[in-house]
């Protein structure tokens, strides 16, 4: 059993793991980053990044064979021909569903930072205070003034494009120039302002794309091929941003194919001493030792690692003394959409492919509004002019038909809701010790669902979307609510929540495990409530803050 020692171990290489590695190495720590999957080298390994539909045998579409091999991934858009190698093969990494949970995973260096939606929004006290106000979950242990500077810090480095709007419920940030709303969206946004008198706003999405000069990266080229990995480094990923910064220090070692099976815990010092790693290729076991550990394996895998650690002291794992480890699983509930036709604008078109759209920040249960449910939702959407896939009334086939299809069709507008899920204790994951994965490791069992509050909210999400689209003048507006399941938001959160009290939370306000202060958990599992904004920017800010604190404490001899 090889045994190696570092100052810090970072488990996971996605958005938060990359930030942990960058911050810790830049502060002089020798760090090893452990990634369970393969390496993906920036640019070189983005093998599909310059392909077009015609370069694939099925022009990008899924085959029946893929459907058979990916029983979970097939449930939604991720199963397709163009980036199949970026998703986990379900059969290698099964999980048990007491209730349906769509778990879409990317096991490789960079994790889902290569695949994320890149929408980046801050959370302020209108959200941090809500648990305490309405009594769901526990109170967040921090407030906006403590995290604000860290949002500033990560936004400046990551590069977030956006517009300053001065909205109470969506704080402005350190933005690069915003992308542009298109001609239809601009008019719709203006109409929204008149109709809703500032209570509802439509703004350009705030997105982690660089839209101005940024060190060592090339500006977004508007190819809209982000989820193939961007050879320009146009959007924030571990590979484009945090990893090169960490490597530059000379303090980082990256070890792919490293499945962390447990955190090693010393009950005398009440601290972790290192981790045990199963090499995913050779099945050999290794031990790495360190002074501090950052756990960034993604919300559910971080819970899994903790559940498998220090079980001689706590049968349900490290961090389970509160009874909250694995509980309070949250996501954003999606799959409520509406769309309609926009008449006119036939003399207008767009240039370039904008991997972004508009955003309508939350307005429900704010500003004096009171619904029969708590919390709220935002919308993302866009207006667009259809390409070849439009109806041609006059012709059914032949040269005239072809000519008609080679011209753009009409404009349409559509949007979908992102709803907040409450932190329910009984929405949980546990270990299923009766089944094993490809490596003989026990697997997770999911038992979580949308409840009455979310289902009531979904009615508003649908009705409001239709009502707003009709109000701004869209025609033939239709909408639908499909698949009301958790997981589809790919925003898993909450399985190791932070709080003020070790009896009701897994982590303290600096993301330290109450029962092992040199273990910091800074992926989505720390989230005490979900808010309704895309959460990754918040993970970045909390990770940078926790890393700064960890190094200070280390220097003081407290860890």
């Amino acid at each position: 059993m090889a045994d190696q020692t570092y100052d810090a171990i970072v488990i996971g290489s996605g958005i938060s793991g990359g930030w942990a590695a960058k911050e810790l190495t830049e502060k002089g720590l020798k760090v090893i980053m452990l990634e369970r999957g393969r390496n993906i080298e920036h640019i070189k390994d983005y093998v599909n990044a310059n392909k077009e539909a015609w370069d694939y045998p099925h022009h990008g579409r899924r085959t029946q064979k893929m459907i058979e091999e990916y029983p979970v991934l097939k449930r939604d858009y991720p199963l397709n021909e163009i980036n199949l190698d970026m998703w986990v093969k379900d059969s290698d990494c099964p999980y048990t569903e007491v209730k349906r949970f769509d778990w879409f995973r990317g096991y490789h260096v960079g994790g889902r930072s290569l695949l994320w939606g890149r929408q980046s929004y801050r959370i302020n006290d209108m959200y941090f205070e809500e648990n305490a106000k309405d009594g769901h979950g526990v109170d967040w242990p921090i407030r906006y003034k403590e995290i604000e500077q860290w949002y500033d810090y990560v936004e400046r480095f990551a590069g977030i494009s956006g517009s300053k709007e001065g909205l109470a419920q969506l704080p402005d940030g350190q933005f690069l120039p915003p992308m542009e709303l298109n001609c239809v969206e601009k008019d719709v946004a203006a109409r929204m302002k008149t109709i809703y008198k500032g209570k509802r706003s439509m703004i350009i999405g705030r997105t982690a794309h660089i839209t101005a000069a940024h060190p060592d990266r090339t500006q977004c080229q508007f190819r809209d091929k982000c989820w193939l990995g961007c050879p320009f480094g146009g959007y924030f990923s571990t590979q484009s941003s945090t990893l090169p910064a960490a490597m530059k220090t000379g303090n980082l070692t990256v070890r792919p194919w490293s499945i962390v099976t447990k955190i090693l815990y010393d009950k005398d010092s009440k601290k972790a001493t290192g981790v045990e790693v199963l090499d995913a290729e050779t099945n050999k076991t290794y031990v790495y030792k360190s002074k501090i550990i950052f756990l960034n394996a993604s919300t559910l895998n971080s819970a899994w690692i903790l559940m498998n650690s220090a079980t001689d002291i706590w049968p349900d794992g490290l961090g389970s003394s509160s009874g909250e480890l694995g509980h309070n699983l949250m996501d954003h509930h999606l799959n409520v959409h509406a769309g309609g036709i926009v008449e006119g604008y036939t003399d207008k078109y767009v240039f370039g492919r904008r991997a972004n759209g508009f955003y309508i920040p939350r307005y429900r249960n704010f500003f004096g509004d009171k619904r029969d449910y708590v919390r709220g939702f935002g919308y993302q959407g866009s207006a667009s002019r259809s390409g070849w896939n439009h109806d041609v009334a006059e012709y059914s086939l032949g040269a005239d038909f072809k000519d008609a299809l080679t011209e753009p069709g009409g404009w349409s507008i559509g949007m979908g809701g992102f709803g907040e899920t409450l932190p329910y204790h009984d929405n949980k994951v546990t270990l299923d010790k009766t089944k094993k994965d490809k490596w003989g490791l026990n697997i997770l069992s999911f038992d979580a669902e949308l409840k009455e509050n979310e289902l009531k909210m979904r009615k508003d999400m649908l009705n409001d979307a239709i009502e707003m689209l009709e109000a701004i003048g869209a025609k033939n507006v239709t909408g639908g609510d499909t698949n009301p399941y958790l997981g589809r938001g790919i925003h898993e959160m909450g399985t190791a929540r932070m709080g003020k009290d070790p009896k009701t939370s897994v982590l303290n306000k600096f993301n330290q495990v109450w029962d092992a202060k040199n273990v910091f958990v800074t992926d989505g599992s720390f989230m005490t409530s979900a808010a309704c904004q895309n959460p990754s920017l918040t993970y970045m800010a909390f990770t940078a803050r926790a890393a700064n604190y960890a190094v200070e404490e280390l220097k003081k001899g407290n860890l």
Binding site: K186, H337, V350, G387, L397, F401, N534
Partner: protein, 187 residues
């Protein structure tokens, strides 16, 4: 993650006209497949069907994009068994329709006759698709037409010559002038 929502919304907004959308979003049944069961003659036949739908004009047509071959790949790999059968039967049915109307097989009738025949089949298929229940089978001509459109406009000649394509736009402008006759963007 708005882009994936967009895909669905476009489908919604345009009434979900494309069977192809099902490849992207539908669930599946693990039915056995008939593999490699198209002959070279079938491919030539499908090329002519596709060319009738999207002929060569001052830009390439379906045959230039090898749409016949593409259709067979899609049916073999992406269709469920029940749809494969409908498609295969469709080859025969289409030929029978030609014999009935022109007393000659589809490969032997001229371009005008092909256009006339397929226009009728298109009308029949549209009427059928409009009234059928969701669980009823699709019309074979709907399949052929949709595969032709998808195969052609996402092919290199279709996307880059019949439509407009720029690999690296480099910028986004949300409002540029458009005049009738300007081509649509391929992606």
């Amino acid at each position: 993650m708005e882009r994936r929502e967009l895909l669905k919304m476009i489908t919604l907004a345009t009434g979900g006209a494309l069977i192809g959308a099902e490849f992207l979003l539908s669930g599946c049944k693990n039915n056995a497949r008939l593999e490699g069961s198209f002959s070279d003659d079938d491919i030539l036949f499908l090329d002519e069907v596709a060319e009738t739908i999207l002929p060569k004009t001052n830009t390439p047509g379906a045959k230039d994009a090898q749409v016949g071959k593409f259709m067979t790949v899609m049916v073999n790999d992406c269709y469920e068994a029940k749809d494969q059968k409908i498609f295969h039967d469709g080859l025969i049915n289409l030929n029978e329709a030609s014999k009935k109307k022109f007393s000659s097989s589809f490969m032997k009738i001229n371009a005008e006759q092909r256009k006339e025949l397929l226009t009728e089949l298109d009308k029949e298929a549209k009427a059928y698709q409009k009234t059928k229940k969701e669980s009823d089978p699709n019309h074979y001509f709907t399949m052929m037409k949709q595969l032709t459109l998808f195969g052609f406009f996402t092919s290199k000649p279709g996307a880059t010559e019949a439509l407009r394509y720029i690999a690296i736009p480099g910028k986004y402008e949300g409002s540029v002038p458009y005049k009738k006759g300007d081509k649509a963007w391929a992606t």
